[in-house]
């Protein structure tokens, strides 16, 4: 393939400026189905070797965005650049990109080895090299002895690995993963998260990972783009996304946040803008004790107590009418005193409060 001309993609000082080369560049990508705009002017730069997640609720456009990078859908507007080369209108078979599908899409009539060898056969790779690369790919996903099995003889987790090996065998520039862990049970999903991240670091290929699971995105990603209604709400590292959400949507969707309107913020935390505070940053002061001098505090009524294993989620309402969610560790000694209907004191440190340049006020809870 001729060396593609690199487009000067990122203006200096842009928050998207990347240290490595740019693997994928999305320029004002928009997708409309009839009158519905599913993806709305998305601009993103994804670095080479990056584990990049597109996180959002269902219907936020993240999967459609992925399908446009793969070439399964044509954008209505905008362009998709792969290593600086415009591939917007290229068919999937001409893109140096492979996909791990949500349902794995393994060919049921082929063995595991034949599935993995498919892309190599298409490219007429000679048999000895083909066999070697298939073995390598299966070893990468720890399925060395499974080559002769049929997909229906494998467990969900094993099928997932075959799909991964099949997509990696070609060493694509970018690997696209469409909610690949969605069908697995929790325990297996957590194992696969670790393993997937490990494989990504080993092979050094750019991963673009679509998920609606914020925990998954936080655990695995180098950077996350949070999608809502076809737009990118925020791009950043997991820490930035979690600690410094720039929109109310992000604050609510990623983890659980108490979002305070400017009025409530003024009364409770002494700020004039919409502010958030995470439930784990608030503590309930044991009766008869006082908040420390650095802490801000307010009186509240306990509305509801929910046992969640490692912690207890307490929903409270302050005198000013703000609903505050507080997470109390199960080991905490104040737990016995927290009963629905009783009064309590909430306390937090001023630096736990984050401002959002936004106006509305609600208490939003994301999927946990």
């Amino acid at each position: 393939m001729p060396e593609p001309a690199l487009v000067d993609d990122v203006s200096p000082g842009s928050p998207n400026r990347l240290p490595n080369g740019v693997a994928v560049s999305l320029r004002g990508v928009t997708k409309r189905f009839g009158v519905v705009t599913v993806v709305d002017g998305v601009n993103l730069d994804i670095a080479e070797g990056e584990f990049f997640s597109m996180l959002g609720p269902s219907g936020s456009g993240k999967t459609t965005m992925l399908r446009m990078i793969a070439g399964f859908e044509l954008p209505s507007e905008g362009s998709v650049l792969l290593k600086g080369r415009d591939v917007t209108r290229l068919p999937p078979f001409d893109r140096d990109v492979n996909t791990v599908f949500q349902d794995y899409a393994l060919f049921p009539h082929m063995s595991v080895a034949q599935n993995v060898a498919y892309a190599l056969r298409v490219r007429r790779v000679p048999k000895p090299e083909r066999t070697r690369r298939v073995d390598e790919a299966l070893a990468t996903v720890r399925l060395d002895d499974f080559g002769s099995r049929r997909p229906h003889q494998l467990s969900g987790g094993q099928r997932q690995r075959v799909a991964l090996a099949r997509a990696l065998v070609n060493r694509p520039a970018v690997l696209l993963l469409d909610e690949p862990l969605g069908a697995l049970d929790l325990k297996l999903r957590e194992e696969m998260q670790v393993e997937l991240k490990g494989i990504q670091q080993d092979v050094g290929i750019t991963f673009i990972f679509v998920t609606h699971d914020q925990q998954e995105a936080l655990t695995m990603s180098d950077r996350i783009a949070v999608f809502a209604e076809g737009r990118v709400e925020q791009v950043g590292t997991p820490v930035e996304i979690y600690e410094r959400p720039t929109t109310e949507f992000v604050a609510g969707f990623v983890g659980t946040s108490n979002v305070l309107s400017p009025d409530l913020a003024r009364a409770l935390v002494g700020r004039d803008e919409t502010s958030t505070i995470r439930p784990e940053h608030i503590r309930i002061v044991a009766p008869g004790r006082e908040p420390t001098s650095e802490e801000m505090h307010t009186a509240a009524t306990v509305r509801d107590v929910q046992y969640l294993g490692a912690f207890v989620r307490v929903r409270t309402e302050t005198a000013g009418g703000a609903r505050m969610v507080v997470d109390v560790p199960t080991a905490s000694d104040t737990l016995a005193e927290i009963v629905a209907g009783t009064q309590c004191t909430l306390a937090w440190r001023a630096e736990s409060v984050r401002a959002i340049g936004d106006t509305k006020s609600t208490n939003t809870e994301g999927a946990t």
């Binding site: 793969a70 070439g71 399964f72 068919p91 078979f93 492979n98 060919f107 498919y118 298409v122 070609n170």
Partner: protein, 300 residues
């Protein structure tokens, strides 16, 4: 409306309740009630008539020494079968019929594949529904009506094909094959369509994603996946053509199919007609066995 309280633990209750309770406790009785009727029908009507056919085929006629009177010999013998095998014309007709059945099957498959693919994978839902209706619509029209309609199409002197294209296969073997291919097309389109509908789009996408173009995707991914549907469709088109005799009379000119011989001999020599009628039965058994050994029937 008055309400009745039912005590579920009460052992009495109405008659229907008691019957239901007996049925609940006796699974074999339930099965007997479910299948008794249909099984009786199958045994008497299907197996019974087949046995009668086979038994009849083992009889034969024998001339008495004067040559004036034919006598029916009911001692089982293979005389009729010997005659089928030894007579050139009966062999020719059998092979012609098999050839026509294969030709009809291939023609229907070639038409059904693109149509069914469009219906299952490309058409919008309302177009898809309209096409399902359109494809099955000819089944609502009478068999004879369609036969005579095709007579009007094929007529070498002034038929529709002759008028529009200036040429027509005319009445004969090809005309019969064309007509039968038209008649049995829905039986191929519908199974192939439902097979393609069950095929996940992601398999097609995975194939292109891995670098394959349309041709390879079709041969390596689509065809192996819908093979059971194609076999199912071909069983219809093949068997229906094998058993047909009336289209050969309407549009076949002098062409004879297996059925035409059976029909002709039926009044003159019933045992021989019965023997000849087992030929398509045997062919279908062979065809089904071949389909089965290819593994295509397992996923039906």
């Amino acid at each position: 409306m008055a309400t009745t309280t039912i005590d579920p633990m009460n052992n009495r209750g109405g008659l229907r309740r008691r019957i239901s309770r007996v049925l609940y406790q006796r699974p074999r009785l339930r099965l007997a009630l479910l299948l008794g009727g249909p099984l009786t029908w199958l045994l008497v009507a299907y197996v019974g008539s087949l046995v009668a056919l086979l038994v009849t085929s083992l009889y034969h006629f024998q001339s008495d020494p004067t040559g004036l009177v034919q006598r029916l010999v009911t001692t089982p013998s293979t005389t009729n079968y010997q005659r089928v095998i030894d007579t050139q014309v009966y062999r020719t007709v059998a092979f012609r019929t098999i050839g026509a059945a294969l030709a009809v099957t291939v023609i229907d498959l070639l038409i059904a594949l693109p149509v069914a693919f469009y219906m299952a994978k490309i058409a919008r839902p309302w177009v898809r529904r309209a096409l399902v209706v359109a494809v099955t619509m000819p089944l609502w029209a009478g068999y004879l009506v369609k036969g005579y309609a095709w007579r009007a199409m094929l007529d070498p002197a002034g038929g529709v094909l002759h008028e529009v294209f200036g040429r027509s296969p005319g009445f004969g073997l090809s005309g019969t094959i064309v007509t039968l291919a038209y008649l049995w097309l829905p039986y191929m389109v519908i199974p192939v369509y439902s097979g393609l509908e069950r095929l996940p789009n992601s398999l097609l996408e995975a194939s292109t994603d891995l670098g394959a173009k349309a041709g390879r995707t079709f041969v390596k991914v689509v065809l192996p996946q819908i093979r059971p549907s194609i076999v199912a469709g071909s069983i219809f088109t093949f068997a229906l053509t094998l058993g047909d005799f009336y289209m050969a009379q309407i549009v076949g000119g002098t062409t004879q199919f297996l059925g035409n011989i059976v029909y002709r001999e039926f009044s003159a020599n019933l045992p021989f007609a019965a023997a000849y009628a087992t030929v398509p039965v045997v062919i279908m058994i062979v065809y089904l066995a071949a389909a089965r050994s290819s593994g295509a029937l397992e996923e039906l």
